[in-house]
Assembly symmetry: C2
Homo-oligomer: 309 residues x 2
């Protein structure tokens, strides 16, 4: 659905700011608590956190993260879920979100209604309160920035730091072809898996895959180490080659390092009991730099998604 | 300073994402804690909150909130301070912020350096940690959305709700001419005043002035009430008329309702002891709708800043 309208009467400019905010509150419904715990004051008020907090921000921008082929509901889901995926990557649970919208005056009210109703449904599903936001105008733009607040669910927050040379590399789900398949807005963030993994001592470091293994794995690698991947082992989406699996991006899967000395078999058995329907694949290990085993995939030959071109 | 460059070598596109993020960490310096408490992981990690939390988000957009006449440092200060003003309006203290940047590939690195160094200096001044963010690309756009997390400083969070008919209306500072005078990026958010006011029982409701009295006061008025203002009492910036004082917007002053039965004299004496240099003006009171006293300024004759036009 195209987000801009040629008919002024169908635009946000015709509706005006005050009525638009009233409509947004209606569209969000139960996903937005009452003032001052939700929209309508200078700040939203949140209860004290129970433990350490997590915060992340990610946008969706028309022409970059979505186009007319993605339904407005899918745009909203993608926005919330890519932030949820960041919370999942630390083993946390989501709590509350604020949404900053930047839009052209020609933005269609019908598009926005579908967007906000989709956001509300997704927020209720994942137990996120939409507590506030902002609306600003800019010509030719339709962008939404969502800041998501979460909290730790256990004694440990799992970070990107901590992998060691020799650790096995595991990934959830299948990789590649996210855009072409619609996975980029239909995926389910790995929240339950992330929480479970944060409680497993043999898991040393974790992140979510957003720009593709070829780029993201550098952030997970220990100092002076490289990822030695087995190309044949890569779990690929149907019709996707090795290049797509490592470079397409927007996988929103978890990738993590498991201490090899631990009983990997026991780990994978426990995984399959906990998540019988979530694919888990051992795709390689971290090797000392300059000691890439023969036959290992050289990620240096590929590039993940580049944000500034 | 113009934010876009014609010379590719001076642009963020030439620098590339990875080096830009490294530069941002350098520019932010001590204003950004180390990973995972700052930039560099899927989420930033924050300590548990001490009390109830406050969250707000506001943007600055090129062509709307700033232009080439505002120095990049001033843009950054405006961005952080307009969010701080929202925290001040609830009587809170700021804690941490995340920054979502949307930029054109032609954005000049020199402009961004001044922007981030200005943000860092302002963040240190107001004791805010810049803990994370996001960078996304969009053609012809330069926009920054800052989400600010704060917390309550006392037993009470002061909201927009609670004023009663008969309450006196007070405002800090002077009003109008914010754009023309440069106040819109040079102002100091009223954090100390806000905290103090939240502890005074006679203060019933408060907000900050961003769109002008003519629009904002409707949000502070109790049900079935109107603001009866004394035009002659309005504290106006030099050279500004009544219309400017109520309609220009971007004042970033506090406006609040004080219970009239309380000893207003004692309240103002206590104020002047606490804030000898912050002007405080009683500009009117809330009257029952339809009972505007003769001679009172009718705010319905004016309009504050309209966001969607």
């Amino acid at each position: 659905m195209h987000p801009f309208t040629k008919h002024r009467r169908e635009s946000v400019a015709a509706l005006g700011e005050e009525k638009l905010i009233a409509a947004i509150r209606r569209w969000l419904g139960a996903a937005s608590p009452r003032t001052p715990f939700g929209i309508g004051d200078d700040c939203a008020v949140l209860a004290p956190s129970r433990g350490r907090q997590l915060i992340t921000v990610d946008p969706v921008i028309y022409g970059r993260h979505f186009d007319d082929a993605v339904p407005p509901r899918g745009v909203a889901e993608k926005l919330l879920k890519r932030n949820l995926s960041d919370i999942a990557a630390m083993g946390g649970r989501p709590v509350a979100a604020v949404l900053a919208l930047t839009l052209d005056a020609r933005t269609s009210v019908a598009w926005l209604e579908k967007f906000y109703c989709g956001l509300a449904a997704c927020a209720r599903k994942f137990d996120v309160a939409i507590v506030g936001g902002d609306i600003a105008q800019a010509n030719g733009v339709l962008a939404a920035n969502l800041t998501l607040l979460g909290e730790a669910t256990g004694p440990r927050v799992l970070t990107r730091t901590g992998a060691k040379i020799g650790d096995a590399i595991y990934v959830t789900g299948v990789l590649g072809g996210s855009r072409a398949s619609g996975h980029h807005f239909r995926f389910t963030p790995r929240l339950a898996e992330g929480r479970w993994l944060a409680r497993r001592k043999e898991v040393r470091a974790m992140m979510d895959l957003s720009d593709g293994l070829a780029k993201d794995l550098f952030a997970l690698a220990p100092p002076r180490a490289v990822a030695a991947l087995d190309a044949a082992a890569l779990p690929r989406r149907t019709g996707v080659g090795v290049r797509g699996a490592v470079a397409d991006g927007e996988d929103y899967e978890l990738v993590f390092a498991v201490a090899r000395r631990s009983a990997e078999d026991a780990f994978t058995r426990a995984w399959h009991r906990a998540f019988p329907r979530t694919r888990l694949t051992r795709i390689g290990h971290f090797a000392a730099a300059g000691r890439l085993p023969p036959g290992a995939l050289n990620l240096g030959d590929y590039r993940g998604y580049e944000h500034l071109r």
